[in-house]
Every structure is written in C-alpha cells, then in structure tokens.
C-alpha cells in the first residue's frame, strides 16, 4: 500500500538516546574484542606486546559494556523497545521458521524481527556470563581455584561464540544500508519499514 502523499517519507525508528546507547556499547565492545584478540591470538600478541596495558584496557572496556544499557533505562523509548525485544508473538515463530528453512515466504515482523530478538536476548545473557567469569578471573581472591579454571574455560569458549555472533550482527548491518541509516540518523524510509517490519505500528513523526 503506497503511502498517501501527505505522509512523511521517513519514519522515526530510534531516539537520540537509543542511538547513544547503541554507539557507546558498540565502541566499548569493539575495544573489548580488539584487546581480547591482542591477548589471545599469538600473532597479534607478538605484534602488540605491552601485556599489562592490554589487560587493563580489556578489563575496563568489558566492565563498562553494561553501563550505556543501564543509563538507557531512564529512556521510555528504550524501555519500550526492550519490551518489544522480549516478547515473542506467533508472527515471530513464523519468521524464525521461514528464516531457518530459508523459505522465500513472508517473514512477518514487528519493530524487531525474531532474529533481532533472539540476538538481543542471547547477547544480553552472554555479556552477563562474560562479565561474571571475567570478574572471577580478575579478582582471583573471589572464589576457589576450581571456579577460576572453570571461569577461564567458559570465558574462552563463549568469546569464540561471541566473535561469530558479533560478526553476523555486523555482517547483517553491512548488508542493509537503510537499517544502518536507521541506527545512525534515527529514521528510516517508510517503504523499508513496510517491507522489513510490516507489523511495526510506528507513529508518524
């Protein structure tokens, strides 16, 4: 259904506050992942050295990752989007089924599609696990040795999974300029919204 001519061509998707949360989290995550790579991958470790400094950067960037999220909770729009990400309706099941079977059929989605919802939930849990295991390794007096060894194990393997998932997240963004524009400017084309998020009932602004 083509929009009537008097309706604006773009619709509001994210507020400035939400974009700030995303951008700050993204930078912290990037620093955290880059410093992790310099600690873990031998060629990078040999190139960079300076182990104490890199450890410090990794610890603090990781510790601060949840902070933008927590500050974002004062934003009503941010909390409303969290609710949208949390709840899965029947259309989300249909979206997932269609995506997993790589069907061409319709993939109904609200403001966020089921893939984005799964990503958000999984990532939130994963970040908390990384935070917990990271703190166990950082403050070695917190727990007995066997916990620390376990924390190292979980931290290392989950880091590998996170690298794959984050690469997927960035890959999806690179593949969709309009989605990127939405996160950069806050608004998206009406046609894009209707195509990608047909069930999203946005207000015109």
């Amino acid at each position: 259904m083509p929009p009537p001519p008097e309706r604006p061509a773009r619709v509001r998707r994210f507020t400035a506050g939400q974009r700030w949360v995303h951008r700050t989290t993204a930078w912290l995550a990037l620093v955290c992942v880059a410093s992790a790579a310099c600690l873990y991958l031998p060629p990078l470790a040999e190139l960079v050295g300076r182990r104490r400094l890199v450890v410090l950067v990794h610890e603090w960037s990781g510790l601060l990752i949840p902070l933008p999220f927590l500050l974002g909770l004062v934003s009503r729009a941010f909390r409303a989007d969290l609710r949208r990400l949390n709840r899965f309706g029947p259309h989300d099941r249909q979206w997932l089924r269609s995506a997993l079977r790589r069907e061409r059929g319709p993939r109904p989605a609200g403001k966020f599609n089921a893939g984005q919802k799964v990503y958000a939930g999984w990532l939130a849990g994963a970040v908390l696990v990384m935070l917990g295991t990271g703190l166990l390794m950082w403050f070695t007096g917190l727990a007995p040795l066997v916990w620390r060894t376990g924390a190292t194990f979980v931290h290392d393997w989950l880091a590998l999974a996170l690298a794959v998932v984050l690469a997927g997240h960035i890959g999806k963004a690179l593949a969709d300029p309009e989605a990127r524009r939405g996160m950069r400017t806050g608004s998206v084309e009406r046609g894009w919204a209707a195509r990608e998020h047909p069930l999203w009932e946005h207000s015109d602004r």
Binding site: G49, R51, R87, A120, W122, T133, L145, G150, V154
Partner: protein
C-alpha cells in the same frame, strides 16, 4: 491468557494486562510507574491490534538460559576441558591449536617489542657478586655440556603443556664457573626485551632442574618462545622461566621480578603457590 508462566524461567512475569489484579501478577502494584516491560506511556502503549510487545517473554528466557548455561559450564569445566584436550591430543592437523585451551603455549610479552638476536649479536653476561664476571656468546653456550629435561609446563593462568623437552646448560654450571662470592644470596635475571626481570634464591638457582635453555621441543628456541636463550625453572610456574635471557646477576638478597612486584609469588612452586593446587611439575 497470554504469556505462559512456565516454571522458574519466568518468575516475575505478570499475566496479561486484563484488569484482573491477582497475587500472581508480581511484586509491584498496578499503576505504579516502574522500570519494567509492562507499563508504558500512552504514547508507547501498543493497541490491541498491534502484535508488537505481546507474547511469551522469550528474550528473558534466553538471558536466563545463557546464565544457566554459563553456570553449568563453570561447574562442568574440568570434565569438558579433559574432553577437549583428548580430542586436541589426537588432532594431526593442528587446527585445534586455534581453539580455546586447545593445547600448546600462549605468547605473553610485557614489552612493546623485542629485538631478534642471533649468534652474531646475542650475549649473556654473568656478573654481580662473583669472582670472575663472564660474557657468553651463543656458540660458547652451545659448546658447554647440555642437559635435557622433559617435564610439564604449567602457566599460572591455567594452561599446561605436557611433557615438553627443554635442553641447555645447567644454571649451576655457569654460577660455578663465575665463582659465587660468599655474600651472594640470590640471583637476578635480566632480559633483552628491556623490561622483564626474574629472581631465584641461590639454593633454587643451584637446583639441577634449572637450565639456561637453548632448545625446546628438540628444536632451537624460537623468538616467540624466548629464543635464542631463556631461563627454564622446571619446578615453578612458567613466569619464572624468563624469556630472552641476557643477564645473570648475583645479589645479596632476592629482588622480586616483574610479575612478583605485581603480586605474584616469588617462590613460585607449581601447586604450592599463587593460591593454586596444580599437580607439581618436578
């Protein structure tokens, strides 16, 4: 109606907003503004036809599920770790070396860059409280009688490399050649990365499982493993085995090394220090 309140994964999930306030609704009262996903402003409230923001709280279950998995992984780690090592041990491709805890060494350097030294420019000095200070070239060290030890390597951060051969000159031999003066009590080690230092008491330094190592895994020590010459202290955590060894100085007391000034134990016996209980390596 609506959201299934299945089990412990959704402990604070309220029922749908159907106006029927019951004890199952959760710890808060209706109408109280709070940070939750139930009450929203008129502007953001979804109308009945809007499917967004309705349905099962799968996002929350994913978060809690990940937390549960993380806790389970923490508990099951020793078992899983052995499984991973068993698989990695039989891997002929070496690809598992890229996986976490996939076996093998990890490279740690505290300096920004480390020069590469070879037979032409490598020198090892022995000085301090000795009768005859000495300087050894790489060839001079190679010309001395060598000792080969095969022990596990245990890092204080947890990784362990089983049965690793090291070969080199026993440190005690270099100490005897220099003539340790009676007032000497300890040895300080300096490295040509310009930053790292280590230390041993004289008694520790005289043990026969402490080497000035020239070879590892039956190959000349590569640069990334601390070559051409590193210290090898078999019974202690691997941070004692200083890489890129360039100086041996006899001192009248123990001068704590790089990591030791940052809180690691000076007497770093494997299994009896740093709050760890690993199996001893010697």
């Amino acid at each position: 109606m609506g959201a299934p309140l299945t089990g412990a994964l959704a402990p604070v999930t309220a029922g749908r907003c159907d106006g029927n306030l019951t004890v199952r609704r959760g710890p808060w009262r209706r109408g109280v503004r709070r940070w939750s996903n139930r009450r929203v402003s008129t502007e953001e409230r979804t109308d009945p036809g809007d499917p967004d923001g309705r349905g099962a709280p799968v996002g929350r279950r994913l978060v809690l599920g990940m937390l549960g998995l993380g806790a389970a992984g923490l508990v099951a780690a020793p078992l899983l770790q052995r499984g991973v090592e068993a698989v990695a041990g039989r891997d002929p491709t070496g690809l598992t070396g890229l996986l976490p805890n996939g076996g093998g060494f990890r490279y740690y350097s505290v300096a920004s860059s480390v020069p590469e030294l070879g037979p032409q420019d490598y020198r090892l000095t022995v000085d301090g409280l000795v009768e005859r200070p000495a300087t050894y070239s790489l060839d001079a060290l190679r010309g001395l009688p060598q000792t080969r030890l095969v022990r596990d390597v245990q890092c204080v951060t947890g990784w362990r490399v089983p049965s690793t051969p090291f070969e080199g000159v026993p440190l005690s031999r270099l100490l005897d050649a220099a003539g340790v003066r009676p007032e000497a009590r300890a040895v300080r080690f300096d490295c040509f990365d310009g930053t790292y230092t280590e230390s041993l008491t004289l008694a520790q330094a005289r043990r026969d499982d402490v080497l000035v190592a020239l070879r590892m895994q039956d190959r000349p020590l590569g640069h990334s493993h601390g070559g051409p010459v590193r210290l090898y202290v078999a019974p202690m955590y691997f941070y004692k085995s200083a890489k890129w060894l360039s100086g041996i100085t006899l001192t009248d007391r123990v001068e704590p090394g790089y990591w030791e000034r940052l809180g690691y134990d000076v007497d770093a016996w494997v299994g009896r220090s740093n709050g760890r209980d690993d199996a001893p390596t010697a």
